[in-house]
Symmetry: C2
Amino acid sequence: MATTIRQVAEAAGVSIATASRALSGSDAVVPATKDRVLRVAAALDYTPSRLARGLVTGTTGNIGLIFPDITNPFYTSFLAEVESLVGAHDLGIVIGDSHEDPDREYALVRQMSTQVDRLVLTSSRLTDEQIVAAAGRLPIVLANRRLGDDMAMPPRLSQMVIDVDAGFTAAVTHLYKLGHRRLTYLDGPARSWSARQKRAVLTRVCGELGLNLTIVGIERPDFTAGLAAGTDLDLDQATAVLAFNDQVALGVLAALRARGIDVPGRISVIGCDDSLPDGLAWPALSTVDSSSRALGALAAAAVLDPESKQNGSVPTRLIVRRSTARAAVDLNPREEKTPEPS
Amino acid sequence: MATTIRQVAEAAGVSIATASRALSGSDAVVPATKDRVLRVAAALDYTPSRLARGLVTGTTGNIGLIFPDITNPFYTSFLAEVESLVGAHDLGIVIGDSHEDPDREYALVRQMSTQVDRLVLTSSRLTDEQIVAAAGRLPIVLANRRLGDDMAMPPRLSQMVIDVDAGFTAAVTHLYKLGHRRLTYLDGPARSWSARQKRAVLTRVCGELGLNLTIVGIERPDFTAGLAAGTDLDLDQATAVLAFNDQVALGVLAALRARGIDVPGRISVIGCDDSLPDGLAWPALSTVDSSSRALGALAAAAVLDPESKQNGSVPTRLIVRRSTARAAVDLNPREEKTPEPS
DNA sequence: CTGGTGAATGAAATCGTTTACATTCACCTT
DNA sequence: AAGGTGAATGTAAACGATTTCATTCACCAG
């Protein structure tokens, strides 16, 4: 059906080889014939088959992207960023959604490995061993995940992470200085590497400062889960809430508003990502800036330039807006069960 | 680098053809050899090249999706729906973003046509002629767009649209019954077919009922644009606002809240899509339900079953929540410039 | 005038599969 | 016992490009 280079060659009265050379542009072919070939190709609306080209050159002109859940705005904005950077280079983009299932993720890796040049795994749920195996097939960019320190780092593997340390430390410190002593953290997906990172930082910093930390797990880090968590939130348990991401924080805000609980008067809320357009949250949400777009930019750079450095990290910092304020209650309620005489 | 079927065949001591037959499973091959081939293939971690397979069979096992702007939640949820329906069939998904540029869109169509079996164009910005040309290359599913009635409908072209008529008619009627006589509509992208549809319905219905309609164009139908529009909104001009989509409506709500203007007491707001999770908007947003997920489901069905019917449409209806109420001001201010004696 | 040089083009191999067709061989029928 | 049948497997052509190597041919130097 579609026109092939053979038809172009015949119509132009040249051999297939010459047609190919004229179309690729680079090789030596006399201007007259080159023009003729190009004109004929245009007239026939010829488009080279990327399949055939890929088979012989060994490079497909595609890059692959795998997500645990494309529904999550974190990944869609990551995708948007990668697309805008990578799409400009005439590269095709193949995507896959593992639905949080490691087996499905590995199946996608195999399937894609035969039709993309490089593969970006976001928040991969694979084991370190599986990731190393994947890197044996084709160059891999790991986004939002790092191999364990004990793993030998294979060549053709890049790692791009968000360094939550600074941001989360600042968030806890900020709350501490405002007089908060009891903090509830709404945790992310159990299998997620980044959730583990955040939890670790929080636990450490809270320990150091002597804050009481309650970790509550949620199924999926989205608005609905935040709404539920905010509805169930025990106000005697904490004076501040830190959420895995802004979506969850937004849900908490909505729940508290529905319950008539003042933020930040009665309780402080901090999100993570800085993913919300200005004015969407009410009150404006204090957040740990850890943009997935920035991560996407890093991943895109790694994909485009295979020689670029293999490890990257995007820094985080605390952005204070209106959802945090001085704690309204006593500082150490556990040790002072009975109200102090004032 | 990667293992080929030839290596599998050699290791199993059979010909390439037999290996191929054993792996495809269907053809006649004696169980003993079949087992041997499969075992060897597994041991070698063999994955068939989709490129080579596609070249000879003429079918790639991929479907393509092209969006005008993947940043827009309308398309990401469309994508999510298509993925979940199509991804289960071991089909690969190739995406492209035209960034609202028809030339880029057509370039994507050409590029993809050589590596996907079917192509879904969402809210295509191409001309009818270009779309027909595309359908000459490969089967096309048009989503959120319909060819002009004067165009001959080519085979291999399906059209899936959202029928906004019912929903928008109901929305205007609803406002009318509440006493509203002046309505501002925040319009979508100029090139968009669906924006044209919505505008046409609104103009007609407002004309019939005698409502005064002000149409204000916005650059991009997102929260930020809605915020700006809400900030600029002239309260003397309208007692109700209808937005192209929920994102814009959300922006309007935020702007009005910031201005201290009561919704729905002072002004009513209606969105479109029903895309917001319960509780996100405050007050809960009345909206015309026209889900992009439903559209995605329709498109996925069309892609999966080429024999399915070529035209589909998802119905719309009005969902009344808390952002609309009786108009607080006089009914026909234009004709009654001076206040009536009470 | 002849042999060498280099530019333009063509012939053919190649990439990794599938598949139409050819071959082998055991077994059944007559 | 011979010929026919059909199942299992092998051979080779194809898919549409790129690329290596060979060929042609004009032109220039000796």
